[in-house]
Symmetry: C2
DNA sequence: TCCTTCATGACACGACGTGTCATCACAATA
DNA sequence: TATTGTGATGACACGTCGTGTCATGAAGGA
């Protein structure tokens, strides 16, 4: 028999989500989370750098993104590649877990400290994309803009996708929403007086 | 004679910047800042919600942005308006204070907690712009994308502007860098396969 | 059997941030 | 001149966050 119950990290995460939904993020203390998970406060901080991280650790989105950029098909222009990778993320990471995503997003929306951490995760994603395009030979300005564009499109599309009131089954596929938002971006930037 | 020395808030801000430059952000304690400013810890937290805010309070960038959007000339299309307002901000807020801006940016770049707060400020700016364009009748998706675009362009241009090694006098005008980055955005989104 | 590894527990501690009450210059008013 | 109110600050207590450090004991290999 094992000395400790398995998946301490997962237990802490689930206990935290439950408690945050019951009482809100701020009033929930780390000792409370640890106790519900059957662990100590010190152990909590061994698994998560701080109280906020417990909500985001599952993501692994930046790691996924780095892999997806490495596996990117060659020969596509920047925008086609962005579209291709965004649709892949939509289908593999988001499609099918709409209500779960919605749960976490609701928690984040309810607390400024969690919103800050969410922004940090988004910035990390933008940096992964920027660096990948810089490695592909894009000039630094374009690479930086593409990084921000990817994050912006993903986020705007996510909000729209989550806002649809219908059941998960009847909702618009996330990949289609991505296309819709990308088209809006293109229209926006195509207007006449772009350069000077 | 007055009971307290004037400008407590400003003294706290300056003491904090000095100490952060001398020792770094994390090792500097709030009591230390307060003492150098001739005040108590409790008074520090009356002026700033937390330790990070002491670096950002001067900005007032979102307030400026809201005003600039209210005063926006009519009849311009979205992109022309964005360019006009960004150039205004470049000239009124940034031009002429390059070294001062660089000082604060260096502090922010050196500490993750400050980067998070910086991202929060950027998000607040994006929200101001989004809401202004939504009020002007743009559809929600476009308005959200424009908010993010403004922040992205401003930030990319800022990095480029600060990176120039030359003296402040010889540096490219910030407004010109804005145009350069805007042009890169337009080129990026103009490529063929935008929509579907 | 011995030894190493590694996740966890136990404990102390400094720093952050807040609630609460006291203090006292300055202004307004009588 | 006397009184009263306002508002910024000080003083103090306190709960929570996050870290450093050492001890413990199961698992696994030699």
């Amino acid at each position: 028999m094992t000395r400790w119950a398995p998946d301490a990290r997962g237990r802490l995460h689930r206990a935290a989500v439950d408690l945050f939904e019951e009482q809100g993020y701020a009033p929930t203390t780390v000792p409370q989370i640890a106790e519900r998970a059957g662990l100590t406060t010190r152990t909590f901080f061994r698994h998560f750098a701080d109280k906020r991280e417990v909500l985001f650790s599952d993501d692994a989105i930046t790691a996924d993104a780095a892999r997806l950029m490495r596996e990117a098909p060659e020969g596509l222009d920047v925008l086609a590649l962005v579209r291709d990778r965004l649709r892949t993320v939509a289908e593999t990471t988001f499609e099918g877990s709409r209500s779960e995503v919605r749960r976490v997003r609701a928690l984040i929306a309810a607390d400024p400290a969690l919103q800050e951490r969410d922004l940090q995760k988004r910035a990390a994603l933008a940096e992964v994309v920027r660096s990948a395009f810089a490695d592909r030979g894009e000039d630094p300005i374009t690479a930086a803009l593409v990084g921000d564009l990817v994050v912006s499109v993903l986020h705007v599309a996510l909000e729209r996708w989550l806002d649809e009131p219908a059941d998960d089954a009847a909702a618009t596929p996330f990949a289609d929403v991505i296309d819709e938002v990308l088209a809006a971006s293109a229209t926006l930037l195509r207007s006449a007086t772009a350069g000077r």
